[in-house]
Symmetry: C2
Subunit: 331 residues, 2 copies
DNA sequence: TGTGCTTACGTCAACGTTGACGTATCGAGA
DNA sequence: TCTCGATACGTCAACGTTGACGTAAGCACA
């Protein structure tokens, strides 16, 4: 900037004015400065600018998600990006992979970067450590999972209700033995989903059979194995509810290799792009990812605009998409 | 920092030393400083630090992709993140949506942020504007598409060969009338894919029928319509090659509603998670997204480590994954 | 006892930018 | 002609941090 000023024959302050489009520079000077800047390949230093300015917005929002590679996190990221773009905010995204340490590390990094806000799909269970950041004015929005130990905005889906809807749907199809495969138990959404499953059983007056609820199923392959094992029971389930995307895939594979995909019902939690092309087409509980991301962005922008009201907790309703696999009746 | 220094009864420089883990601070002083920092909720300001330091690495890498919400960009982002993580680099991701203006804007933003490197899946066709940035020392890695007008590292897939493999595979199945649906013509990868398709036809001594090559198909729905229209021709194609993920989906739908999914062959470009669950299972050309992202990260890190050698152009080979839909013989 | 080295600090300026404020010039109006 | 206000600049310090360098104390060794 000093060089530009010298080449243009003005002071640095004038260069600053021109660069920021402030008034107080004649057309002639403006021209000279811009030419000089161009000649010298001058690039504005946003860091220095942010440092000096009063309000000092960095223009960065941190998005700490479970895994930016999976369709849920990715869709969310995309929707968030869109809703923040027009405010000139950029998104720094990271995958936490359910590792609390990484969460802490990334939060520390983003705080040091003076991020304007944080979107968190937390890997940790207690969030007291965020209190001081929030007190310092950092807008915080939790997504998919609720905050514990810090009172801030959140956007979640009613997982309990979603799972209950799914289970009830299966029960309505005449099924009496409905099995459920669930994600890692320490993940809150997984707990809520199993709770919904159990609630639906109770509601229907069915007895809960612990053998039919398999928690902490880790991946597609394990899901496959679990389903196969359950089918081998003396009194096997006639319907399955899978608590997560990849578990659904594993279940489909197992049912198919057992030749039972048209005999055994299946409802999966989370929709995915080709779900209707599978045979039979998959009935799922869908979360509106787009909507979730948009709401998160909206909350964040409101806070950035100065909204000091009490934390808001949006709970969106999931919906049941019937495509066939969930409508297979018993027997 | 000044406050921390005062509370701990030391100079700011000493606080700096403690914060950065530099030697030259006794255990006792270190303790006092850390306590003071804790009491005052002191947060290190990375921006100021970066500004002052000589090498001034911001620790940010920009990833300008087509759409962080689609599985290709998302997978790439994830792999990139992983390979950069251990070097302490964070990824600022943005979706360009094939809009050159957005590309320019984001590049300008990242340059102003003093990003340590840029990963670009460009929306624009000419990249001369990046020359000055590169000359200024900004490591640049293009991905999925080659640079034009600036000489920098790139990681691409041999799209031409991929499409040729697909077409040849169909031709080997006895097909004489193979149709292709392609993405927007101005996208380089789309051009390469159609070129591969034509090359394979020529190689096999088949005449090219312009009616069977439909370029600039925009989305799933349009793809569906196009396939339906092609099937209504007097001499319809017996096999289809779809140039992109969503076009494949559209084609599957059209074939299915025509009741021809087991009579007409189909090979899609790009694999996707449930491709083997579709009926018939989809034969695809797969790009190893993980590998691409990892290589991009590696190239970037090498440049950051000071590698000044000539730009490298990695061209990865796609692979043909046979699952059924592409092995349907003619007739 | 003097010299030199190490350790543990402190002082000062600078990184690139902008807010606050000062000044010179010019034209309008009394 | 003088004053006033607007316009177009310039000067200076400060944002939070760290590199360069200075210094005082302590210790080892000739």
């Amino acid at each position: 900037m000093k060089d530009v000023a010298q080449l243009a024959g003005v002071s640095v302050k004038t260069v600053s004015r021109v660069v920021n489009g402030e008034p107080g520079a004649s057309v002639e000077v403006r021209e000279r400065v811009l030419q000089a800047a161009d000649r010298l390949d001058y690039r504005h230093n946003l860091g220095a600018s942010t440092l000096r300015r009063k309000d000092s917005r960095s223009g960065i929002v941190g998005a700490l998600l479970q895994d930016v590679g999976n369709s849920f996190s990715a869709g969310l990221l995309r929707a968030l990006e869109d809703s923040l773009r027009e405010s000139g905010l950029s998104v720094l995204a990271a995958s936490l992979d359910e590792e609390p340490e990484r969460e802490r590390g990334m939060v520390a990094d983003l705080v040091a970067r003076r991020a304007d806000g944080l979107v968190l799909m937390p890997a940790s269970h207690r969030h007291e450590y965020l209190i001081s950041e929030q007190r310092a004015g950092l807008p915080l929005v939790f997504v998919d999972r609720r905050p514990h130990g810090v009172d801030c905005d959140s956007v979640t889906v009613d997982n309990r209700r979603g799972a209950a809807m799914a289970a009830a749907h299966l029960i309505a199809g005449g099924h009496r033995r409905v099995a459920m495969l669930s994600d890692l138990e320490e993940i809150e959404t997984a707990q809520e989903r199993t709770a919904g499953y159990r609630a639906a059983l109770k509601e229907a007056g069915l007895e809960f059979d612990p053998a039919l609820l398999v928690p902490s199923v880790r991946g597609e392959h394990e899901a496959s194995t679990v389903v196969t094992d359950l089918l081998a029971l003396p009194d096997p389930p006639t319907a399955f509810l899978t608590g997560r995307n990849i578990l659904t895939v594993g279940a489909v594979r197992a049912l198919r290799s057992a030749g039972l995909s048209h005999q055994v019902a299946l409802v999966g939690f989370d929709d995915f792009p080709m779900a209707d092309l599978v045979e039979p087409a998959l009935t799922v509980i869908r979360q509106d990812v787009q909507r979730i991301g948009t709401e998160v962005g909206r909350l964040l922008l409101e806070r950035l605009a100065g909204d000091k009201s009490a934390p808001k907790h949006l709970v969106l309703e999931p919906s049941l998409i019937c495509r066939g696999s969930g409508e297979i009746a018993r027997g």
